[in-house]
Symmetry: C2
Subunit: 334 residues, 2 copies
DNA sequence: TTGTAAGCGTTATCAC
DNA sequence: GTGATAACGCTTACAA
């Protein structure tokens, strides 16, 4: 059943059927009704492929992320898909892992489907050197791309991100003000946002007159067990710390495991903070003080910007918003 | 840059270019090389829309789920997408919520993009009555559909699922054998798999000669706090229990919160079990004994079946596999 | 092995 | 308002 069949049965031309399909105003109410009736009668659905060939768009956007089962990324995907769907767009998901070659390779999957735009979710899509970011530039030559929690300045690339520097600065300040003098910082990557966070930690320490003769920031293996063991070995190696500022909630949850296992009281002997306000922070006991970096806001903003871009409106290349500290049980009150 | 441009520059016909594109064997090695060179030179990518119009497929399958940010579903999505991608298929994600009207409505988003098949992930897609499952039947008239962790018998509908009945029977048996006499069962829905799980719990109790004069299974509100409060109020209302069999890890994690808050020792005074072997079970302290229902296996199996179906091989309508108990710290050893 | 030409089912540009 | 008809960029018989 195609547009020709319908046009015959309705006694009109295919052009008219097409007009009804796209509810053009240039159709008399009478014929519109007639055509719609025939369509319904034959439960006709227009062929998506032919349609997209004519329109050069399938109203579909790509979502790239390293790992859709990551709690934080999964949330972002959820909100992005919801917003896109509410705007009539479908979402094509593509997980890439953390290796550059994989990212480049799997990006092709999305590009070969001619998506209208791509969201790159997570800070790990911006690499250190320009030539390693080339895949972003060439993609942006074709379609608008959005970096969520990442930033890079180039034409047709738009960034929406939380001010991670300020957020870590704030939360570290709070920990230091409530009596901790020997904080350590735990991270798992020095991506764009990773570096910003670390800078926040360092600056907060400097503000409080802490010296950095010894290293106080550590690249820490993920998974709760690994983090716990890492902290134990740190302690065994003579590193003294009375608070752990973690770059994400999972690391923080690992730190809680460490404290519980080694009999340290939280937040009495050790304060712990996370980042993302994810399930990890509420699932732990005690629940973890963390940063709410507003995933939902980030995603709705990004989709809204994209919709404006589709309407050829000018949109900002970079949109930053502040996070906020969520006080729970792993830090001491003022 | 289209197929005509390439054919001119390469001095061949568009048919030959197309053959190279689809790596047909009926092209001489020489011309193939020539054409490929020209393509590369002009960084040509075939138009996906035109292509899919000719092939009547975009090599894309839909993934429907209630909520992609749910830890368990997010994992399933991850594995499905990975397997599909490895087979050259793209994944279109669509979250539907738990209401029937929404499911039906958002399903259209996928159908209107002419996906080649759809995975329905989670047991909540099979409704109680036949007419409420009508949307599945009509969809299956067009394309093969897969129910992951759900089951319904109808043409072109395929189910891949864990034997939830047996798994809950096993884990409940273990809890009862190690000295618990007053188990309660916590669930959040009585979907297909929900009912199977409940039956497993009930049968295990009967096997152990437990009477059911009072109700011992409870519809419990989700979120850790709500579960904790629910159990407190249960206790306050005189329900006595020495073990909690939960239908999923999140409920179990809530039960752990309850035990910790009310000073009950785990697993001494109360045993707790979860389901799914998700992050919730390892994130809690103590870590939760749970059922590994093999998400990854389920997903790889489902995709593998789909690929066989695409090759017109006959595949089983229902594939069941067994789960396994993962022993952790919330149950007593034998 | 290669080329010609007829689809595929729409949208869009003209005339009328 | 409506109807021919030409794109859109590919795949695929069928011929050569």
């Amino acid at each position: 059943m195609n547009i020709y069949d319908i046009s015959k049965k309705a006694g009109v031309s295919i052009a008219t059927v097409s007009r009804v399909l796209n509810n053009s105003s240039k159709v008399s109410e009478q014929t519109r009704r007639k055509v719609l009736a025939v369509m319904k009668e034959n439960s006709y659905t227009p062929n998506a492929f032919a349609r997209s060939l004519g329109l050069n768009s399938m109203h579909t956007v790509g979502i790239m992320c390293a790992d859709s089962s990551d709690v934080y990324l999964a949330q972002a995907i959820y909100y992005l898909e919801r917003e896109l769907r509410n705007n009539g767009y479908a979402s094509m998901l593509c997980c890439t892992g953390y290796q550059l070659e994989e990212k480049e390779k799997y990006l092709q999957l999305l590009l070969s489907r001619n998506v209208d735009a791509i969201f790159f979710v997570g800070s790990n899509f911006v690499e250190d050197t320009d030539d390693r970011n080339n895949y972003l530039y060439t993609t942006a030559n074709r379609i608008p791309i959005f970096l969520l929690n990442g930033h890079i300045a180039a034409p047709n690339i738009y960034s929406v991100l939380c001010d991670d520097y300020q957020a870590i600065l704030d939360i570290t300040n709070e920990v230091l003000r409530t009596g901790s003098h020997q904080p350590i910082y735990l991270y798992r990557s020095l991506s764009y946002s990773g570096r910003r966070k670390l800078a926040g930690f360092t600056d907060a320490c400097l503000e409080h007159g802490l010296s950095f003769e010894e290293e106080r920031s550590f690249l820490c293996p993920v998974s709760l067990d690994n983090t716990r063991e890492f902290l134990s070995s740190l302690e065994a190696n003579g590193v003294v710390f009375d608070s752990v500022i973690a770059a994400d909630d999972e690391l923080a949850a690992g730190a809680v495991k460490y404290a519980l296992a080694s009999g340290k009281s939280i937040p009495g002997q050790i304060q712990i903070t996370g980042y993302n306000n994810s399930m990890f922070s509420t699932c732990s006991t005690p629940e973890i003080t963390t940063i709410d970096n507003r995933v939902e806001f980030m995603c709705t903003t990004a989709v809204s910007l994209l919709m404006q871009a589709f309407q050829h409106k000018s949109i900002p290349a970079k949109t930053t918003f502040s996070g906020t500290v969520v006080h729970r049980q792993t830090t001491r009150p003022f």
